[in-house]
């Protein structure tokens, strides 16, 4: 498990970007209600950082070309993105948001 940040640091309605040497890919963390969602921060279309985007309920809109991704499934609602972004299961342990390391491992599919 990799510890990402204290749950207390997550503000509803805001995206927290995690980019650290010990985390294989940049991540975006979002708290919606009581649930914490963790997705790849890099858009599946080009290279935008989704944490620069607009949050609307369970959706995050890419700041460059406006595909909207569902935080629950990773799926985009419309082009230009066609592929989903990866979603990662997180747990809160002792107030820290943690993610399974295996979930972050890059596959041939995602390593572009």
């Amino acid at each position: 498990m990799i510890q990402l940040c204290p749950i207390a640091d997550l503000t509803p309605g805001a995206v927290t970007r995690i980019a650290r040497p010990d985390v294989p890919v940049p991540l975006a963390l979002v708290k919606v209600g009581e649930r914490v969602f963790c997705v790849d921060d890099t858009c599946s279309h080009e290279t935008a950082s989704l944490s620069d985007g607009w949050l609307d309920g369970h959706e995050i809109e890419c700041p460059l070309h406006e595909s909207r991704f569902d935080l629950r499934t990773g799926r985009p609602d419309c082009p230009p993105a066609r592929r989903p972004i990866r979603t990662h299961v997180v747990q809160v342990v002792d107030g820290m948001v943690c993610v399974e390391e295996a979930s972050l491992a890059l596959t041939a599919e995602t390593a572009r």
């Binding site: 607009w54 700041p63 066609r82």
Partner: protein, 393 residues
């Protein structure tokens, strides 16, 4: 069974087909496209495709899943040559005819050329994948490049050619590139982007001739200068593809005229994308940018289906988005929203005009546009402010 024909298989055509199915249309769907290639996306043509960073399959607009959902007949490599509004019959190249109950016009635009110029090797326009491949081929050899026109496509081609190691000159008729679209300050900033990256900018002159025997050798300017060139790229705008509608009764004037719901002057015929000049509160707009071609077909599909189903099309949503365009040049992301007037004041909001920044245009104190370089987050915030101002216009 009902038949809907979508003419044009670019972004707008594919999106119209997608929207028709998403809205529950289960009749016959025929897509007629002049290009033989499977539908593809154009923005990468001047960027990643020229740089050799992506191939045809990376820019496909459809995949197997989408084609299954669309369940359409694809007539690719097939140009529509006429439309008879009374029978709503399309004439296809070769004389075949196709009857349709509803028609979506999505024939886009083509690159404008310089009139009266000789046909020489090395002279290009850039609109299609074939164009991009031909240009990439020419750019694979050393040689000087002259780009005619400093608009978005010209700027992106210049940036790509420069990245490939060429000596590049942009010739722009106005005093600054994009002057009339973005005003003097922003045009100055974008002009500096070129010169900072080693691209020469020749402004305030026109091109009067192309000189060469087989291949182009020189570009002749209106001030008498001759610029040596092995490759010339003409980026002087686009012309809507409406000629095939001559005699159809569908009214055209620099594009297919539509109302706020994408309906043309003929019932059961809608238009969307680069080809459509739509009515909106701001008057009439024909937008040649990607986001418009993505979103407008959804409105067009909605109003066409309402008409075919005998429902009130006036109950359907209208197309009146905040115009948006992005461009990638010299490794920076440029984003512009709204329709700023040339005389609107540009006001810095964050960053610095010498580097990355976000800025707003103001007219009589009111926000009229947003311009940003490498500041997507700030751009998004400002665009939302502008969107609220736009919707109460």
């Amino acid at each position: 069974m009902t038949t809907i024909a979508v003419v044009g298989t670019g972004l707008a055509g594919v999106r119209a087909a997608e929207a028709l199915r998403a809205e529950g249309y289960d009749g016959r769907l025929v897509l007629v496209g002049e290009e033989a290639a499977q539908p593809y996306d154009r923005p990468p043509l001047s960027k990643q495709v020229l740089l050799g960073k992506c191939e045809s399959q990376d820019i496909a607009l459809t995949d197997e899943d989408l084609r299954a959902v669309l369940d359409a007949e694809w007539l690719l490599g097939t140009r529509a040559t006429a439309l008879d509004p009374a029978s709503r019959a399309l004439t296809l190249v070769g004389g075949r005819s196709l009857h349709a109950d509803g028609v979506v016009i999505a024939t886009g635009a083509r690159a404008r050329t310089l009139p009266g110029m000789p046909q020489l090797h090395g002279v290009h326009t850039l609109r299609t994948l074939d164009d991009a491949h031909r240009l990439r081929e020419d750019l694979s050899r050393p040689g000087r490049v002259v780009v005619v026109g400093g608009g978005f496509i010209g700027a992106e081609v210049a940036s790509s050619a420069r990245a490939l190691g060429h000596e590049v000159t942009i010739v722009e008729y106005e005093q600054k590139p994009l002057l009339r679209q973005l005003g003097p300050e922003a045009a100055g900033i974008l002009g500096r982007l070129h010169t900072d990256h080693g691209v020469a900018l020749v402004t305030g002159v026109g091109v009067t001739g192309l000189v060469g025997e087989e291949g182009v050798r020189e570009v002749e300017l209106s001030d008498g200068r001759l610029l040596p060139a092995e490759v010339v790229v003409v980026g002087v705008g686009a012309v809507p593809n409406t000629e095939w509608l001559t005699g159809s009764g569908v009214a055209c004037d620099n594009g297919v005229l539509t109302d706020e719901r994408c309906r043309t002057t003929e019932p059961g015929i809608v238009a969307a994308g680069d080809v459509a000049a739509y009515r909106c509160r701001g008057g009439r707009l024909r937008i040649e940018h990607w986001t418009n071609a993505r979103d407008m077909p959804v409105i067009a599909a909605g109003s066409l289906l309402a008409t075919l189903r005998g429902q009130d099309p006036m109950a359907q949503p209208v197309h009146d988005p905040l115009p948006y365009v992005w461009s990638d040049q010299y490794g920076v992301h440029l984003q512009i929203a709204g329709r700023p007037g040339v005389d609107d004041m540009l006001e810095l909001v964050s960053g610095s005009f010498d580097d990355s920044f976000a800025a707003v245009y103001r007219r009589d104190g009111e926000i009229s546009g947003v311009l940003a370089i490498d500041s997507p987050r700030e751009f998004g915030r400002l665009r939302r402010d502008l969107r609220s101002a736009w919707s109460i216009r």
